[in-house]
């Protein structure tokens, strides 16, 4: 699952759960049936689980594009070297 997919999964989960909660509470209250509320909410949780927990293909539409290793070697990171040298100097003193 890529970054965009993770964000989508979390938002889908929250929206679906809250929507099912509102719908089931409303239905249960109007019908006067506590059991109906529980059944609808349980169904909603199962559905939300099926939608957001497995790693579905639509969560992987924005894969990260890494550089080739050969391309990366041509452009070494300058920050890393500075960090290493600055750490070594106080150690010698």
């Amino acid at each position: 699952m890529d970054w965009q997919g993770q964000k989508l999964a979390e938002q889908l989960m929250q929206i679906l759960l809250l929507a099912f909660a509102v719908v089931s509470f409303g239905t249960g209250y109007v019908l006067g049936s506590f059991q109906m509320m529980m059944l609808i909410y349980a169904g909603g949780v199962v559905l939300t689980t099926l939608v957001t927990v497995p790693n579905w293909p639509f969560f992987n539409r924005h894969p990260l594009k890494w550089l080739d290793p050969s391309e990366a070697e041509k452009h070494p990171k300058p920050q890393q070297q500075q960090a290493v040298s600055s750490k070594k100097k106080p150690a010698k003193k």
Binding site: M1, M13, F25, Y29, G32, T49, V53
Partner: protein, 167 residues
């Protein structure tokens, strides 16, 4: 949210939290209901009235208990427990409560009833103060919800009197 386990954990956590909220709201919705129960009790007969060997007086009554408790039932009510108590004052105790009858009402359909019965539990005084005693019959109830807060209330019926003589 990067792995199966983390997503399942997040879903269960939010799911149970929302469920708790729904239950709290269901309990709060009970406050919108203002019950108007009614009850009448007739003492049809004093079957016998005597003093035990240890000096405590005991009475046996035949009662007609009719009540309409349907308005107590909401969508969040599991059952209602009712009991009828004889309440009176003696020099020793400012309030004596003797449970005479009780019942569990499992649903709204059973909440309107008329029961003809002798006292289910023995009506024994602590001592011998019952001759000619004026007493109240009080119908107490506890509304037991499916989730949340339990409610309790009572109806006091006054003006009952025991006979002066043993029989």
């Amino acid at each position: 949210m990067h792995s199966f386990g983390y997503r399942a954990n997040a879903l269960i956590t939010l799911g149970v939290t929302v469920l708790a909220l729904m239950c709290a709201m269901a309990s709060l919705s009970d406050n919108l209901n203002s019950p108007t129960p009614s009850a009448q009790v007739q003492v049809l007969n004093v079957n016998w009235f005597q003093k035990q060997r240890n000096g405590n007086e005991e009475v046996s009554l035949t009662l007609n208990i009719s009540a309409d408790l349907q308005s107590m039932f909401t969508w969040n009510t599991k059952q209602v427990f009712v009991f009828l108590a004889a309440e009176y004052e003696t020099p020793k105790n400012s309030l004596n409560q003797v449970s005479l009858w009780d019942g569990i009402i499992p649903s709204k359909e059973h909440a309107k009833f008329l029961i003809h019965t002798t006292n289910k539990y023995r009506f024994i005084d602590q001592g011998s103060n019952l001759q000619g005693k004026e007493f109240n019959l009080t119908l107490h109830w506890h509304v037991m919800p499916k989730t949340g807060k339990m409610f309790a209330d009572k109806i006091v019926m006054t003006g009952y009197r025991l006979p002066e003589e043993y029989r």
